[in-house]
Every structure is written in structure tokens, then in C-alpha cells.
């Protein structure tokens, strides 16, 4: 099975061949998109560090080194496997190795809520798939489109407010190297409101390359509060792409917490497609060992009177690497835009690396935009102050790092999720 792969196109070719052998025909994805995806991949290949957007995140090298052979030896999971991952306050839905698993998901009839697999979409609903994530824009989206597993479709019908959080547990598990192309579509229609938690786990004994694509639409005057909880562990390499479009007077709010994973790349792209809407993206990561976390955001202001806010914080320990690359577009029509971006990082060792790159492209003339980024070591004055009061070096460090992260942890309004994050965060300190 394992082929010797030593150049860029060979990596892509090898992966395509392996995945093609293992997967059947995808019925729910429009044929044209699949063709476009394969073409794009054959043409561009999987990105490596020569690619500007993947400069600090060499996906091609990961596939070459860790996924020479893809066994797709998936594990079946039981309720007992899922139970510890659940969140009590929420309706828990389960996606295993990219496939929506109705049996493991909680069944609850909630007015205005539709949950089904992508295969179950009606022919008219199918048109909406890949409307936000175009295969010819990014190689990982293309890969996902070509080999998309039967993922999750979630819709909140117009004028409905879902009273409890919806928790989607994306869990991968294999006995030997697997690649999971997980796909979801979240559609919050006009005047609707929902809170969504998306959790990512790997509970198998083998390495996983998780290529996740989620399309999210937030309709007019609708609100979607999202929490992304990433705790995939040292055997996981993941690319998570969120393609979000939000409408007039709508509100989209995401907080991404990255607590483990050997490589975690987040592409969070939000289009503010109509006037008077707002988007808030927050992120917190802590890395150790040789971990790599790479947050890429793109906020696209297309229309007037909109607001966006970004706050990302990271702590890099040992030989780990953290990256924040945030781009804000303010297009010609997007007058009266308010866009703010801030990235703050702490380096805990001389061998840790932080890369930050804020980018503003402004084509309108009446806007307020600002960005700021800072990277430094822990505040030695504050550390001395704590020690001078009898607090030991280690507790003092922890206290300061917790204080640094608190602002983001406070944004989690679901108590048991907040507790889970805090627990893992403290453990990682």
C-alpha cells in the first residue's frame, strides 16, 4: 500500500488514489463541484510552506511524513465511547469519522429544528451545499468536496429560537492511519436563533488527518453563537475550515478554544454580505511539545454599517508554534464599517515561536478599523510582585497565564463547557 512519495504532485496523487479506492460515489455533492475539486487538486496540489497562506503550516509535509498510507481503518463507536464527550445542558449530536450517526445522537423533537445527514437532503436542499465553500478556492476545501463523508445538515427554521445549545461531537477513531473528510452545513434562517457547540476529538489509537469543512449561513436578523472546542490529542492533524455568510441585521459569534492536537489549522472566513450585521471571532490556544496551531481568519465587509471584532490569544510552550493571520477586507460599498482586531501572545520558552500577521485591505473611505498585535514573555514585574507576596514561581506563572486567558474563558456562557475548557487549560499550563 505505501508508495514512495518524494515530490509535491506525488503527495497529492497518492492521496487521491488512496481515497478514491476507499470511498464510494458521493450522491449529495453536485457533480460539477466534485469535478472542479479534482481539477483544482490536480492542478494546485496540497499546499506546502511555499504557499503564502500555508507558510507556517506545511500540510503537504504532514501528509508525506505521517500519511504515506491511508488505511481508512475506521472504528465503530458505542454510546459508552460518546458519553464522556457529551455536554449535559445541550442536545448532543454525533458525527463519527465524518459520518452523521443518528443512533448515537440524542433524539429530541424541537420546534423548528431539522437535523439530518447530507444524504437525506431533498434535491432542492442540495443546491445549498457548497454554496459557501467553493472547491476552486482552496485545496483543502477541494479535497473535502471530492471525498466528503455523509456529514451533518442542521437547520433552524425562520422565526424559531432553539432554547438549548446544540452540541455536535465530531469524533474520529481509527486502528490505522485515517483521513476524515467531515462536512457540515448549518443554516440559521431569518429571525432564528441558536447556540452551537462544535467539539473535535480523536479517540482512536491511530493517526488522523481530519479535514473539516463547515458551511454556515446566518439569515436576516438571525443570531448564531458558536463555540469551537478542539481537543484532538497528539495523534491528530486537522484543518478546520468554516465558511460563514451572514445577512442583514444578523449576529455571528464564534469562540475557538484549541487545547490539544499535533497540528491544528483553522480557516475561519466570514462574509458580512449585507448591511448592519456583526461578527465576533475569538480564539484561545495553548500549545506545548512540538504542537502547531495556526489560526487564519478572513473578515469580508461587503456592505455598510457592519461591525467585526476579533480577539485571539495564545500561549506557546516548549518547541511549539502558534500563528495568527487575520485579514480584514473592507470593500468599496462597506462604508461606516467598524472593524477591530487584536492578537496577543505569550512565549513561554526560547524555542517556542509565534507568528502574527494582521492584514487590512480597505477600499471604503469612511470606516473605523484598527488592529494590534503583541507577543512577549510573561511579565517579569508582575511575576516578581506575586513572588514577593509569598506565591511560588510556578503558581505565580499559572496565575498570570490564567489571568491572560480569563477574558476569553469568560466568553463561554455554557457552564459545563467553560469548566471543561478551564480544566484542560489548567492541565496544559
Amino acid at each position: 500500500m505505501s508508495l514512495v512519495v518524494d515530490n509535491k504532485s506525488a503527495v497529492t496523487q497518492n492521496l487521491l488514489e488512496q481515497l478514491q479506492k476507499k470511498s464510494g460515489k458521493i450522491a449529495f455533492m453536485p457533480d460539477a463541484e466534485i469535478i472542479s475539486a479534482i481539477r483544482y487538486l490536480e492542478d494546485k496540489g496540497i499546499p506546502n510552506n511555499k504557499h503564502e497562506d500555508y507558510k507556517y503550516c506545511n500540510i503537504e509535509a504532514v501528509l508525506r511524513k505521517e500519511f504515506k498510507s491511508v488505511e481508512q481503518s475506521f472504528n465503530e463507536l458505542t454510546n459508552a465511547d460518546i458519553a464522556p464527550l457529551k455536554i449535559d445542558e445541550a442536545i448532543n449530536l454525533v458525527v463519527v469519522n465524518g459520518v452523521y450517526n443518528e443512533g448515537l445522537s440524542e433524539k429530541m423533537i424541537v420546534k423548528g429544528l431539522t437535523v439530518k445527514s447530507l444524504n437525506e437532503l431533498s434535491s432542492s436542499e442540495k443546491n445549498i451545499l457548497s454554496s459557501q465553500a467553493k472547491a476552486d478556492t482552496d485545496a483543502l476545501i477541494a479535497l473535502n468536496t471530492a471525498f466528503s463523508a455523509n456529514g451533518l445538515f442542521l437547520q433552524v427554521d425562520k422565526n424559531n429560537v432553539i432554547p438549548m445549545p446544540l452540541h455536535v461531537i465530531y469524533v474520529n477513531s481509527g486502528n490505522a492511519n485515517i483521513v476524515a473528510n467531515t462536512r457540515s452545513f448549518i443554516n440559521v434562517q431569518a429571525n432564528a436563533q441558536a447556540t452551537l457547540i462544535e467539539s473535535f476529538y480523536n479517540i482512536g489509537s491511530a493517526k488522523v488527518f481530519s479535514n473539516f469543512v463547515s458551511e454556515k449561513c446566518v439569515g436576516e436578523n438571525a443570531k448564531l453563537i458558536c463555540y469551537t472546542f478542539q481537543n484532538e490529542g497528539p495523534l491528530s492533524y486537522s484543518v478546520n475550515t468554516n465558511q460563514v455568510k451572514i445577512g442583514k441585521y444578523s449576529n455571528y459569534n464564534n469562540t475557538t478554544m484549541t487545547l490539544s492536537g499535533e497540528l491544528v489549522r483553522n480557516n475561519h472566513n466570514v462574509v458580512l454580505a449585507d448591511s448592519n450585521c456583526e461578527a465576533h471571532l475569538n480564539g484561545l490556544f495553548i500549545t506545548n511539545g512540538t504542537q502547531q496551531v495556526d489560526n487564519h481568519t478572513l473578515i469580508d465587509h461587503q456592505m455598510p454599517n457592519c461591525e467585526s471584532n476579533e480577539l485571539y490569544k495564545g500561549i506557546a510552550k516548549d518547541r511549539s508554534t502558534g500563528t495568527f493571520n487575520g485579514k480584514i477586507f473592507v470593500r468599496k460599498d462597506a462604508q461606516k464599517t467598524n472593524a477591530y482586531q487584536s492578537s496577543k501572545n505569550i512565549l513561554m520558552s526560547d524555542d517556542a515561536t509565534i507568528n502574527t500577521k494582521p492584514q487590512l485591505e480597505i477600499y471604503a473611505d469612511d470606516v473605523k478599523c484598527s488592529h494590534g498585535t503583541s507577543t512577549g514573555k510573561i511579565d517579569t514585574e508582575a511575576l516578581f510582585y506575586l513572588k514577593a507576596r509569598g506565591i511560588g514561581e510556578e503558581s505565580a506563572r499559572k496565575l498570570l497565564l490564567q489571568a491572560f486567558a480569563q477574558e476569553l474563558i469568560d466568553k463561554i456562557e455554557i457552564p459545563s463547557l467553560q469548566e471543561r475548557v478551564l480544566h484542560l487549560f489548567e492541565k496544559a499550563l
Binding site: 513572588k387 514577593a388 507576596r389 506565591i391 503558581s395 496565575l399 498570570l400 480569563q406
Partner: protein
């Protein structure tokens, strides 16, 4: 309580303390005065364990222990307290959490159990009265957004909470108006006992009207050049530092 012998300290290549000798006993209040740059703050930093300074010579014994061998946190746990000239703002760490952690780590060092939440809060309530500190400040982040006076009062509040054997007040009077100065001084005086000692480091005599010292030492160019009773401070106030400078310039 504390015995400082021939203490030399430098930062980089620059020697700042050039042979300090000082003996402070329980129940005493010592004032250390001196012009700017004489080494006052260096002395307090070296005693508290700030790592920027290198001790090149001399010894310091604190309650029978070699102070210079201890890390900053252990010095505090042994009962040494430094009221900072510039208290540090620590956003995100609440005053309460900070103090509870400090108090419990000190207790653990002495083999004592953690204080219960109830006892701790009672202590906070009691001690914050001492410096007329608004109880709301206790729940705010350490020193964040505090006025100059509030920061200094917070230092004395922490001192009251931790109940040190030796308190070093580093220019606690700087930047305080007369009302704040009085509150701070009253707090310090109330905490005074026959078992603890205080070193007041100041540029001005004014504070010493409120905290009356048993001994006054004049620090100049890294050495204590003159020691006396409280009247020495008044003399210094009358003559100014220029006299001292003239007198000891030759010795330099």
C-alpha cells in the same frame, strides 16, 4: 530581626550598594533617607529578592537564616514584606484570589492548613477597614485602574493581611496627598508591635511626622554615611541633602 553586613550589590557593571551595615531589632522602626540615586530602592529590591541585582559581597541574616540564599517567595514566607514604590497592575488576577493564594502558600510553608473561605473573608473585611479601603477594591484586579493613593493603601492592606515580621516601605509616601499619607501611616502604626519591625525608606521627612522612627540612617552613594535618632531627619530637612553631599563627597 535582620542583620545586614557589608552588603555590596550591582546591576550590570555598576556597583550601587557599596558596603551597607544595618541592624534592625524587633519592635524598632528605622528610617532610611537619602537623595535620589543613593541606592535606597536598590537596597529594598535586594532584600526582597529581585533578581536584576547581583550581590557581590556581604551577608544578610534574617531571623537566623541566610536571606540571600532564599528565593523571593521564601523571603516573603519567612516574614519579609516589601511595600512597592510602584505597585504592579495585574489585570485578570483579582485582589482576593491573589491574597488567598499568597496567604495559603505562606501557611503551607509553615505547615499550616489552608484558611477557610469564611475566616479569610472575615480577615479581609477586618483589615480593609484599617486602611479605609473600599471593599469593592478587594474584588477588582490587582491594582488595575487604582489611583496612586489606592495602590499605596492596597500595599498596606496586603501587609495587614500577611502580617509580616519585617516590613520595608519603599517610598510609600511618594505621590500621596496628605489625607492618603495619614491613612497609610495610621495603618502602619496600627500594625506595629513589639514582635515586628519596619524599615521606612523615604526621600522626605514628611512621612516621619506620622511614622516616628527610632533610628534614622542617611544613605549616600551606596553607603550609610550617618545614623542617629529621629532628630537627624529634622536636621536633614533643615539643611537639605546638599550639606550631606558636601560632607561626604571627599570620602567618596
Amino acid at each position: 530581626m535582620i542583620s545586614i553586613k557589608n552588603l555590596h550589590a550591582s546591576i550590570g557593571d555598576k556597583e550601587i550598594l557599596r558596603g551597607i551595615n544595618l541592624e534592625v531589632k524587633a519592635g524598632e522602626v528605622h528610617a532610611i533617607m537619602g537623595p535620589n540615586g543613593s541606592g535606597k530602592s536598590t537596597l529594598s529590591s535586594v532584600l526582597a529578592g529581585r533578581e536584576d541585582y547581583e550581590v557581590t559581597e556581604g551577608e544578610v541574616t534574617f531571623n537566623g537564616k541566610n536571606l540571600l540564599e532564599l528565593p523571593a517567595e521564601d523571603r516573603a514566607r519567612e516574614g519579609l514584606f516589601l511595600a512597592f514604590q510602584y505597585p504592579v497592575e495585574i489585570p485578570g488576577v483579582s485582589n482576593i484570589n491573589f491574597l488567598r493564594t499568597a496567604l495559603n502558600e505562606i501557611r503551607a510553608y509553615h505547615g499550616q492548613e489552608e484558611m477557610t473561605a469564611k475566616d479569610f473573608l472575615a480577615l479581609v473585611k477586618d483589615k480593609s477597614k484599617l486602611v479605609e479601603l473600599d471593599s469593592k477594591l478587594a474584588s477588582r484586579s490587582v491594582n488595575e485602574g487604582f489611583s496612586g493613593g489606592e495602590k499605596k493603601r492596597n500595599e498596606i492592606f496586603q501587609m495587614a493581611m500577611l502580617n509580616p515580621k519585617l516590613a520595608i516601605l519603599d517610598e510609600t509616601d511618594s505621590g500621596l496627598d496628605i489625607d492618603a499619607l495619614r491613612i497609610v501611616a495610621t495603618g502602619v502604626n496600627k500594625l506595629k508591635s513589639k514582635d515586628n519591625a519596619t524599615i521606612v525608606i523615604t526621600h522626605y521627612q514628611r512621612l516621619l511626622d506620622y511614622i516616628v522612627p527610632d533610628f534614622v540612617h542617611i544613605l549616600y552613594k551606596g553607603r550609610i554615611v550617618k545614623s542617629g535618632g529621629k532628630e537627624l531627619a529634622l536636621e536633614l530637612e533643615a539643611k537639605g541633602y546638599d550639606e550631606i553631599k558636601k560632607e561626604f563627597e571627599i570620602a567618596d
